[in-house]
Symmetry: C2
Subunit: 414 residues, 2 copies
């Protein structure tokens, strides 16, 4: 099937999906979960093929781990679908309804986007997760997964579609692009006529390729060069706990801390404590000259370090003389993902919240909380780092749009 | 100045603009309005140059009219800025604030986009209008107007900047790209690092070019192939009034009616009345075979007519046997702008509102109401026909984004 045919099929069922109602959608999700479990043997066998190929081609251990499915992981995917079924349905809510002087009543109603495209890497669990969120929000989804996970994805999608079909629901609610030709992916990115939004999930290279090539509106997700600023009034223990958590609790994620900004007044006392705490996880600290003169173990930072998302046990560190300098440094180098201040000063907290330009700005908490589950959305399709449509963690609501509904009794425009 | 330099200058002042506060922004708008008026002679002289050139190159009367400035039109531009000053400031509103079980308080706050780019045709009034809305919503704006209006735009921007500067506010809140080279415009469209959103305002060709070339997130505005469906229970007089209004009150606009869908049961009685009413404005009706057999004056429609936005005294007309057929025809050919049903049947009204996929769906009212002023926003930067970020008329609120602000007291992620 060509990409255009896939697009057409998805578009064709948007009318049905848009008015399915929560009950039927939840039945579909439950049935999909059930069939996913019953397809386990086939899915694991398909995954085995992907793994064999990946190992032969020398894929690194981290990527192999993300690619690998187990009985437990398939169970987690099925549970994920059931959790989404349990979430509130965002569709149909009338956000506002107002009367106009001419007697028109104008309401704004939440409706599905229509067709959502998702381009992602070789993580087969995304296949089921993305389907669940798109389906619950009334959207058809077209998936283009990493080619290293192709066999796994084909098997997963086959069983999800069986589940839908068994529940009397359109199988084409989920479609997978199986052609791994790069030109096909490019064609997908230009399917504006059929796809309403394209969400890339993956590393910076993937996201850049989508942004550069897509004519479909894109929601950029991803990179986080997140800072923690320790001001001159910070509680040292709180600062150490938060930095340790934000840097080391999970290193490969976009909301991990990558850079510290420390007020000059506390640097001589704080930096040795910081070094001690971070050495528990052997974190390398790349610091400016002033910081290096305080702690000799620090590695001198280069200009490049300020803008680097390490996703590793490495941190950059800069000393500043004022909150103004801190804000200006962060706004210059951050990717506008998640930024935190550790302070006990009211005015500094307010200024940081107001003046830092980021999706999530924290006072006295770890940047690791930028997450759909932690924010209480019950789900997450990604974390938007752009300003259009959605900013920060995206749940079901961010997969919807609105339409105006207008009730009249014969009004014409004068 | 290169486009990149312009982008950098805009980005540099976003921090200041974001926290200016309503009072200073309103002072800036009032000062800009005052200086616009005091620059009248210079602006009119510049406009005269544009008009001379346009007439020599044989520009048509409609476009000349849109290009032409008069003392009155400059007055209207200044009044527009004062009206925007009088609107509520959307910035700083906290849309929601919730406590999480771990003690974090998570709020969502409305903030400016940052830098807004606008690409438009030779309509110098857009220059002041767009500036007013962007400035009030805390954004820096970069304008690229049609080259036929270059002299006029340079003069207008000069006086608006004087007004800002006089009020002690950053002149670079409004910048104009004066290089008319197409490559420069393309470069502008790829300035993702500095521009947060790009809004094209103009005809289908301009919008297509922006969508195809931009890497900046785009809000597509514009084309409207708007339908009115007259069902079998419609009040004929109401239907005639609404169709007449929607088609003829102003023909060159995106919310004008371009196509009618008539239920078969009422066609024999309704079509002769329709023909009579629309002949008052000599509207040409391009109809399907069945309709042509009822009214011999109708012109046979081709497949192309169903998808055409005429922006002229022309309408297409199709007869259908059911509301299902009507909905399916409209969803197939509409541009998802504004669609109306004329009915006295409750179930038909509800089905139309639920199942038509468009920015604005009307029951018993003219499609001409899809407009920021008519919707009560007090302003309009355009009408979005895409689903991402904003759908339908866009006012000040649609020029904003949000950021999460999180208040903690030492929380780390377990």
């Amino acid at each position: 099937m060509t990409v255009i045919e896939i697009g057409k099929k998805a578009k064709e069922i948007t009318g049905i999906l848009g008015i399915l109602g929560s009950e039927k959608k939840n039945q579909g999700l439950k049935s999909a979960a059930k069939f996913l479990l019953s397809g386990e043997a086939e899915i694991l066998a398909a995954n085995e093929k992907d793994l064999d190929k990946a190992k032969k081609s020398g894929m690194n251990a981290g990527l192999i781990d993300r690619l690998e499915l187990t009985s437990q992981r398939i169970g987690a995917m099925a549970d994920g679908l059931l959790s989404v079924a349990a979430l509130d349905d965002p569709i149909g809510e009338v956000i506002s309804m107002k009367n106009r002087p001419n007697g028109l009543t104008i309401g704004q109603k939440r409706v599905p986007m229509g067709v959502v495209g998702i381009i992602y890497e070789a993580r087969p669990n995304v296949t089921a997760d993305a389907f669940g969120l798109c389906f619950k929000s009334g959207n058809a989804v077209i998936l283009k997964g990493g080619s290293d996970a192709l066999e796994s994805n084909i098997a997963i999608v086959k069983w999800l579609r069986k589940g839908l079909s068994e529940a009397g629901l359109p199988e084409d609610s989920i479609q997978l692009i199986t052609d791994t030709d790069r030109e096909v992916t490019k064609e997908f990115m230009r399917l504006r006529e059929y796809v309403d939004v394209l969400i890339p999930r993956g590393g910076a290279g993937l996201i850049r390729a989508v942004v550069d090539n897509s004519t479909i509106p894109v929601i950029e997700t991803g990179t986080g060069n997140c800072h923690v600023f320790v001001d001159e009034t910070a509680d040292f223990n709180m600062a150490l706990d938060i930095i340790f958590n934000a840097k080391t609790q999970r290193i490969g994620v976009c909301n991990a801390c990558e850079s510290l900004v420390i007020h000059r007044a506390v640097a001589p006392d704080f930096l040795p404590l910081l070094k001690e705490r971070l050495s528990l996880k052997s974190v390398e600290i790349r610091a400016d000259e002033e910081a290096c003169s305080i702690v000799s173990d620090f590695v001198p930072a280069t200009e490049e370090d300020w803008g680097t998302e390490y996703l590793d046990y490495i941190l950059s560190l800069k000393i500043v003389g004022s909150i103004d300098e801190a804000i200006s440094h962060i706004n210059r180098y951050s990717t506008s993902h998640s930024e935190a201040i550790i302070t006990s000063n009211y005015a500094n907290a307010q200024r940081f919240l107001n003046e830092i330009d980021a999706a999530a700005v924290y006072v006295n908490a770890s940047t690791r909380f930028t997450d759909g589950y932690e924010f209480g959305f019950g789900a997450e399709i990604g974390i938007s780092t752009q300003k259009l449509h959605a900013r920060g963690p995206m749940g079901l609501k961010e997969l919807t749009t609105t339409k105006y509904i207008i009730y009249g009794n014969g009004q014409v425009r004068p």
